[in-house]
Point group: C2
Chain length 186, copies 2
DNA sequence: GTCTATACGACGATAGAC
DNA sequence: GTCTATCGTCGTATAGAC
């Protein structure tokens, strides 16, 4: 009937194990190629518990595909060189951040994933950047800078277009940074 | 034993019906939400024939998700205003072109789809643009312009971020066109 | 050769017993 | 909270009729 303290503690341990397994497997193999049964096996629990605790594979994915490493810092620094700084700061992010970004983008078939992506973009890039911009259409220009940045990341991390992946990072920072700077300057 | 003319004609008609059904359903509902059985029903054909004729759902998707409406024209016009022209030309593309783009991007979980996207980018944007650019790193700058453009399209069509979708097209053309122009000018 | 019928193994998710 | 058994659906393969 009632859940005892022991029950609750066991449940929390199970939840944590499932979450850890999901965080690892989704980042490594993506949403589609990671099955609920894979996660259960990695967590050492019954497959039914994955759904029981997280309601659906999709919800576990969204809850799991996030990074503590805050991207907020990429909109800091002198405004006059922020374009380059944003590209450099993004390309220098952790390996996990790249994998999470890629996994999210490649799962954009799912509406709730798209919403999560949009929310993350606003929270980590658009809103803090818009606060720093002056001049006309600050909000819009911030959103377009975010779109630009995502364009580069998609080419580099999601599509992995060889024409761009083999270019030295410093060149990308200089060239693409100039393009961002135009919208930052307004 | 041997295939009669009647056999061959029947087979071609079946193939065409499956292709047409796939072209419609994939564009409308995406890769994931369109089942092989849906396509077979729409085509008035046995589900096994879909695989028999196209080897896999993924191959039918890639073969089907293309547009005759050539995007090549978006890299034409005076170089000094090509940035704006590219944005304008892209945003003015057919409704089918938008749906195909969205369907492809949302199916990027599949490696062969990513390859198809990269090939399309090179054939329709990067290569023809690189041919027109002069100065340093023409090939790279063309690839980065393509990345920028895809960034806008992803925000607009794939993620459908409201902060950008509700902005008037003319504003997007002016603002984002300026950013493209920087890399076009070099 | 085209097609029909049937089946396989894996999937996400659920009901109900403990 | 956990586990077993199972459901309906999926992409795909194939045997055999025409």
């Amino acid at each position: 009937m009632h859940s005892t303290p022991t029950d609750r503690r066991r449940g929390e341990a199970t939840r944590a194990a499932i979450r850890a397994a999901g965080a690892r497997l989704f980042a490594e193999h993506g949403f589609q190629d990671t099955s609920v049964r894979d996660i259960a096996r990695e967590a050492g629990v019954d497959p039914a518990l994955v759904i029981r605790h997280f309601r659906s594979k999709e919800r576990l994915f969204i809850e799991t595909m996030s990074v503590e490493d805050p991207a907020r810092s990429i909109v800091e620094g002198p405004l006059e060189q922020l374009g380059e700084a944003m590209v450099a700061g993004t390309l220098a992010r952790s390996d996990r951040a790249k994998k999470v970004y890629t996994a999210l983008m490649r799962a954009a078939d799912h509406e709730e994933v798209r919403d999560a992506i949009a929310r993350a973009n606003h929270a980590t890039v658009i809103a803090p950047l818009a606060r720093r911009l002056s001049g006309h259409d600050a909000q819009l220009r911030a959103a377009l800078v975010s779109a630009q940045l995502n364009g580069l990341l998609n080419t580099l991390w999601m599509i992995e277009d060889e024409a761009v992946t083999r270019v030295p990072t410093e060149v990308l920072i200089t060239e693409y940074g100039r393009a961002l700077q135009v919208l930052i300057d307004g």
